[in-house]
Amino acid sequence: MNLTLKIWRQKNAKAKGNFVTYKMENVSPAMSFLEMLDALNEKLVRENEDPVAFDHDCREGICGSCGMYINGHPHGPVPAVTTCHLSMRYFSDGDTIRIEPWRARAFPVIKDLIVDRSAFDRIQSEGGFISINTGSAPEANLIPVRKADADTAFDASICIGCGACVAACKNASAMLFVSARVSQYALLPQGRTEARERVRAMVSIMDELGFGSCSNTGACEAECPKEIKLTNIARLNREYHKAY
């Protein structure tokens, strides 16, 4: 199929960006979205032009590197997939595809479609851990964990930190991300000991870094490639209120 791509090009953080139009011919529906961009880049390189920069790594939907705003959706129109797993069979011949980077104050653009998501790491480093030194862990089966709790903790812990929730939210809020982390630890007895300190610290840094607040619109849940649930945000709220 033949496609028209309108891609946000921005040379670096300080430069002004704009959309550039590219024509792609003979795109195979068996390609993934990123492979389609790879093909475009190969073409650009052959013409000695600067290829479109985008983050990507594992290409199997788990590392969370990739992510772009495609036709009004983070990670494109198909629910529950990352951009690397977005198949071109969901597009049709003659389509125009608009591709933008995530946009949020806390995620400044580095180049083209690459944004700086280190704010997520900052949030994690404020409290996203259990303070146990290597070597001091008790026998693994000493503390039983209710299966349902372990499973719910897992459902929260599968967040890949791609930032689609922030990208989708009209407030650029990171609540879904933070709540997933808080939930994982709040649900496990191992994490309860410092649950209060954790949630306070993580919410505080989240605000400080310039993310918006949650208006419960559900955009994050709708676009999360890992289908993290809004119930985690309720849990975060609950944990936070309990912490004071």
């Binding site: 068996a30 290829p51 199997e60 209710r146 372990a150």
Partner: protein, 639 residues
């Protein structure tokens, strides 16, 4: 020969590690904060090492090329992590895990290291549980295990099909704890481009800031490489597309010996290639073989849909060839068997390079719900990629390059032949021999990082407490930086017509065809010539747009591909030297009449350790003789 001192403690196997820890030198807490350590890589081994060393009080600098340490490719491991807990009361023990690994590695790994890996495996599980890894549990609240990867006990702990992700995020969380404490400083989006030696000791690294293009110097009292494997040498592999061999390769060229480079595991259950632009083959966890049955049609070129092929016209070739282990034979055996069927014309799908992995019987027996509970996310992933639903129709799978057992040679302390340079996790060679057993990579990586390195590195650093901070103004840093810049400029200056990826793809094809699942002398010789030719072309016709002073993915790729050419030649040289079939290394000349591997213990019961001898000179081979005092050397048989 005296360069290879493996420093294995004396005494009975089971006592070695305890004895080592009791007698190695220590660094007092007050001195630790004066010592700097560089850890390159933030996967399971890198992040765990950085955090454990940070906990001890060392000053750690941790580097990764990704935008966040959480993205290292350990994240993609699926199936599980082994430990000798014997929670199932099924006869498991540290000793049995050790023998399984030795046997699985086809007697090409070092006994003492393997035993120790098995020994710390239980601590690893305890630790992960304590830091909040949500392992699968039984209704009673205790940890669940499953059987995995060709062993007869159920010792694999798992988190659905995302064990690697969860373990990595566990390590990432402990890393973050240290970042908050200030003991670890994180340097994301940095690529290590050279190792700096001062007075023969590893004293720092040169990195490129991948955002600004700046070349940076970092000094330390010790350098730890946790940079993973080099499976992307095949271009298409289960690895992350940016995974590369460069850090280990620079270390090799600075004098660290490289062991068994030809030992590279081909994983049997991957989603087959679907188009020519594909960059990556997605792994479908080996755990699927617990319930899935592998088959091809009995008739070659059978065009029917798989569900239309009646039971009598299916060839469950693994069950047929290996009745004792059936679908659960180790990875190398399963991979070769699939290749054999496809080469003989029985493959399925458009490319005929695939076999079926069928869950019909399992779904019938256990119900869809149970299967979904076990593999839901994998089935979902498969459907996302291929558009076909594995609950309805068998999966199509084909082997792909996966894990490198080979790597930098290390001694018992995980130190390379360069004093002060350590290699942990997949980047070293020590624990998996010629073939890795399923669910033992996470185990080894976390064991290395959390429990082994932090107990061995002191022995070296105790001798460094007099050494003041390493100045990056030293002429050695100057020189290293100059050579890095020089090479970048050389790459940029080629100004030819082809992209680095185009070369990588061609190199990968050569390697896959000639140095892949099966090798032979003639093919290897040919490959050597082809690689050299392609490398030549690379340096004449490469094209990198843009400049080196900015974010430039093409430049990054080109540097990695340039290193892959050199590594490819070493891999081939190693494969040529090893005139036997063992584990993942299958030389067609050395097989039994029924097509099984023929090991040659008399001549090749050694680790092949290669020393860089300089540009345009053949590497020098050293041999570390493998002595098996505990495990009895047997022919692997899964029949």
């Amino acid at each position: 020969m005296e360069k290879l001192v493996s420093k294995i403690p004396d005494g009975p196997l089971a006592q070695k590690w305890t004895k080592y820890k009791a007698s190695s030198r220590l660094v007092s807490p007050a001195n630790r904060k004066k010592l700097d350590i560089i850890v390159v890589g933030t996967g399971l081994s890198g992040a765990s090492a950085a955090s454990a060393l940070g906990e001890l009080g060392y000053n750690v600098s941790n580097f990764c090329y990704q935008d966040s340490p959480r993205r290292a490719h350990s994240v993609a491991a699926q199936g599980g992590i082994n430990a000798a807990k014997n929670y199932r009361n099924d006869g498991d023990s540290v000793y049995r895990l050790f023998t399984d690994m030795i046997k699985g590695g086809d007697f090409r790994s070092r006994e003492a290291n393997v035993y120790r890996a098995a020994e710390v495996s239980n601590q690893v599980i305890d630790h992960f549980t304590a830091i909040g890894v949500p392992f699968a549990r039984d209704y009673g609240g205790t940890l669940d295990t499953r059987s995995f990867g060709g062993v007869q006990v159920s010792r694999t702990f798992y988190v659905k099909g995302q064990t690697g992700q969860q373990c990595l995020l566990g390590c990432y969380s402990s890393l973050n704890r240290q970042i908050k404490k200030g003991t670890v400083k994180m340097f994301p989006r940095r690529e290590m481009l050279d190792l700096v030696l001062i007075g023969g000791k590893a004293r720092g690294i040169i990195t490129r800031n991948l955002v600004t293009g700046e070349i940076e110097r970092h000094g330390a009292h010790a350098v730890v490489l946790a940079t993973g494997g080099y499976g992307t040498i095949y271009y298409l592999s289960t690895l992350a597309v940016n995974s590369n061999a460069s850090a280990a390769w620079k270390a090799y060229k600075k004098g660290a010996f490289f062991a068994n480079p030809a030992f590279i595991q081909i994983h049997p259950t991957c989603v087959p290639q679907m188009n020519e632009f594909q960059k990556k083959l997605t792994l479908m966890s080996e755990s699927l073989r617990n319930d899935g049955r592998v088959w091809v049609p009995l008739r070659a070129d059978d065009e029917r849909r798989p569900n239309d092929i009646p039971e009598g016209e299916r060839d469950y070739f693994l069950e047929r060839r290996y009745p004792a282990f059936g679908n659960l034979v180790p990875r190398d055996v399963a991979s070769r068997a699939a290749k054999e069927r496809c080469d003989a014309g029985f493959g399925v799908g458009e490319t005929k390079l695939a076999v079926y992995l069928d869950f019909r019987d399992a779904i019938e027996k256990q119900g869809k719900k149970v299967i979904e509970e076990k593999y839901g996310n994998l089935f979902q992933m498969y459907k996302t990629i291929t558009g076909s639903d594995p609950y309805e129709e068998p999966m199509r799978i084909y082997p792909a390059g996966h894990y490198t057992m080979g790597g930098l040679w290390v001694d018992y302390e995980l130190m390379t032949t360069i004093p002060g340079l350590y290699a942990i996790g997949e980047s070293n060679f020590s624990d998996h021999g010629a073939n890795r057993l399923g669910a033992s990579s996470l185990m080894q990586a976390a064991g290395d990082g959390y429990f082994i390195l932090p107990n061995t590195i002191n022995n070296y650093l105790a001798g460094e407490i007099q050494q003041p901070k390493i100045s990056t103004d030293a002429p050695e840093f100057e020189e290293a930086e100059r050579s890095v810049t020089g090479r970048i400029n050389r790459l940029m200056a080629v100004r030819g017509t082809q992209s680095a990826s185009a070369f990588h793809r061609r190199l990968g094809k050569i390697m896959w065809d000639h140095v892949g699942m099966v090798r032979n002398g003639k093919g290897l010789e040919e490959a050597l010539g082809m690689v050299a030719e392609l490398e030549d072309e690379f340096w004449k016709d490469l094209l990198i747009p843009g400049s080196p002073d900015e974010l430039n993915h093409e430049l990054e790729k080109a540097g990695r591909v340039a290193d892959f050419f050199e590594l490819a030649r070493l891999m081939i040289t190693d494969a040529l030297h090893r005139r036997e079939s063992c584990g993942a290394h299958f030389r067609e000349e050395y097989q039994t009449p029924d097509g099984e591997a023929m090991r040659n213990d008399r001549e090749f019961a050694h680790v092949a350790v290669w020393e860089y001898a300089g540009e345009d000179r053949e590497p020098v081979l050293h041999r570390e003789k493998l002595v098996f005092e505990e495990a009895e050397m047997k022919i692997r048989s899964y029949k």
